[in-house]
Structures are given as C-alpha cells and as structure tokens.
Symmetry: C2
Subunit: 191 residues, 2 copies
C-alpha cells in the first residue's frame, strides 16, 4: 500500500506544524490573552501565517484546539468523581474544575461558551467527550435528588461558563458566584 505510506509521511509534516502552532498559541495566548496577534503565533511556531490559517481557519478554531487539553482533563476528572460518595458535592467540585480550566487566560472562557449555545457550531471530539462525562456526573446528582429534576446539564455547564467569563482571573469571585448559583439566589425559603 504505497499511498498509505505517502499519506503517513505527509501527515508527519502536517502534524509537526500543527503541534508547533498549538504550543506557540498556548504560550502566546497565556501571556497576551485570547486576542493575541496570530502573526506572532505563526512566527513563534516558525511557520508562515498561511500555514496557521490552513490549520485553523478562524481564531475560534485555534482557541478550541487549545481548549481540547482542558477538556481531556475535565473528562478524566468527571469519570473519577463518579466514584465519589456525595453526588452533589462531586458535581459541585467538577463545575469548579470547569471554571478553573476555562480561565487559563483572558478570553478563553468566552470561547468555551460558544460550544454551549442553543445552536452551537460543531464541536471538537474532546469537547463532546467532556460533556458526556460531565453529563453522567450530573445525572447521578439528579438521581440522588441533589439537582432539580427538570434541570438540564448543558444549562448548568453554561451557567458555569458565564461565571467563568465574568470572573476571569478572579478565583475568589468565581467561587462566590458558583456557590450562590449552586444554592440559588432565590432559595432563602424552603423550596
């Protein structure tokens, strides 16, 4: 199968460029935020700007690729937390991890929120896997009676994304808002 070999050879090249672009993006976004210069990222990666655009047609595509790492970690965390004794506390811990994961640098949380819209663009495999793992954690908490029976997982995740977006780089504020949303702003009385 000579074509397969040829394809594999090309892929090595392409993959190396992609990996370099991602590493450069992580470094640059982490320093300058999500609105950093794309030309700077291409320069740091040692590729032409056209190559960056070939791999990541939009800034959002590049940001979502950066997010994939965080999603992998969050999916693993969700699966671990499925074994935790208190379903509600496990869900709360996971939502905190989500907020923390998508606030690695300014502007990232807003990108993460895009994948949670009512009519979202097609999302990455990592994002889908993260949501599936989180959904199981959510269902367990709901079955245990820790979450309102009519609540939707995506809405809860989106709420966390909103908190992350407005509390970027303010972990204390993020914690307060998550606690308030968990307990309920209007939950003074019994129900």
């Amino acid at each position: 199968m000579p074509p397969a070999v040829a394809v594999r050879a090309v892929r090595a090249d392409v993959r190396r460029n992609r990996a370099r672009l991602l590493a450069a993006a992580r470094e640059t976004f982490g320093r300058d935020g999500a609105d950093a210069s794309l030309e700077g990222i291409a320069r740091l990666a040692g590729v032409g700007i056209g190559t960056l655009y070939r791999h990541f047609p939009t800034r959002q595509d590049l940001l979502e690729a950066v997010l994939a790492d965080a999603y992998d970690g969050l999916a693993a965390t969700a699966r671990e937390l499925l074994a935790a004794p208190d379903p509600g506390a496990a869900l709360a811990a996971w939502l905190r991890a989500y907020v923390s994961g998508v606030t690695a640098f300014p502007g990232l949380a807003a990108s993460a929120a895009v994948a949670l819209r009512d009519d979202p663009p097609e999302s990455s495999a990592a994002c889908r896997a993260m949501r599936e793992a989180g959904s199981a954690l959510f269902a367990r908490a709901r079955d245990a009676g820790d979450v309102p029976p009519d609540a939707a997982f995506t809405d809860a995740l989106r709420l966390a994304a909103g908190i992350a977006t407005v509390t970027e780089r303010e972990p204390n504020a993020a914690g307060r808002l998550l606690a308030l949303a968990s307990r309920g702003v209007l939950s003074g009385k019994a129900g």
Copy 2:
C-alpha cells in the same frame, strides 16, 4: 459673571457633539455589535475621529455611556418593584430586566460586567444609581427570607451579567439559566 456665560456657550457645542456621538454609537453598535468601527461612528456623527477620542478615550467609555440609558431605566424599574407584593418575585423580575437591558447588542453584556468586578474602574453615576436601587430591592427580598442571608447583591448582579454574556441574543436560554440560578443548581434537596 462673564466667564460662566462663556463656559456655558462652549458646553453647548461640546454637548451637541457628545449627543451626536452617542446617537451614532447606539445606531452603529446596535447594528454591528460592540466591536464596530469607531471611525464609522465618528463619521456618522459628523465629527472627526479625534473628537470621539476626546469625549470617549476608550471604547469601554463609549459603551458605558450607551449603557447609562439602560441603567436609568433599570433604576426606575427597581424603585417601582419595591412596591410589588412578593419581594422574591420582584427581585427575579428585576434581574430578568437587567439581563434584557444589557443584551441590546452583542458585546454589551461583557462591558456591563466590567463595572461589577471585585476591583472595578470608577463607574458612571447612572450605574451607581442603578446598583443602589437594585440593592434596596435585593435587601427587601433578603429581609423577607427569599434570598440567603449571606448573599451579596453585587454577586447576584454579576451572576446575571454572566448569564447575559453567554446567552446574548438567546432570550430563551437567558430565561432558563436565570431560573436555574434562582432555584439553585444544587437545590434538589431541602436546603
């Protein structure tokens, strides 16, 4: 007092330019979102770009001036709702109005959230008045036992800002998330 007269004459000029810039900003932002071209706004207002920068040194300043209208309306609404019978329902209605008011166009909610940071920049008089009126509504709901006694008004408002930011142009989603945050993601059990 001749100087006072001279000052007043100048102010008329300055105010007219400011009003034109604001009208142009409302129209342009409303059509193109908060990242619309500032040159286009100056052109539409019939002033030079330098005049726009003189009045509004940053884009955020211009957006906050646009927000002032919404804040005036929200302050009035809060004062009216103080007379509503159910304190909790009144607060809920006002938070819905806030979300609706700061989502007039894409990008506005994120600007509104800036004024709610833990260490916010100095905010407009309209914003302060809105927060004071909302705070009274919040205190009433808390005194009535509709809100957790240790909850902070600014955190509740910030939560609404976060919801607004991630659900822009999706009123249904905004309603669902507000309902979820009001009841509490983890409020399945009694308390």
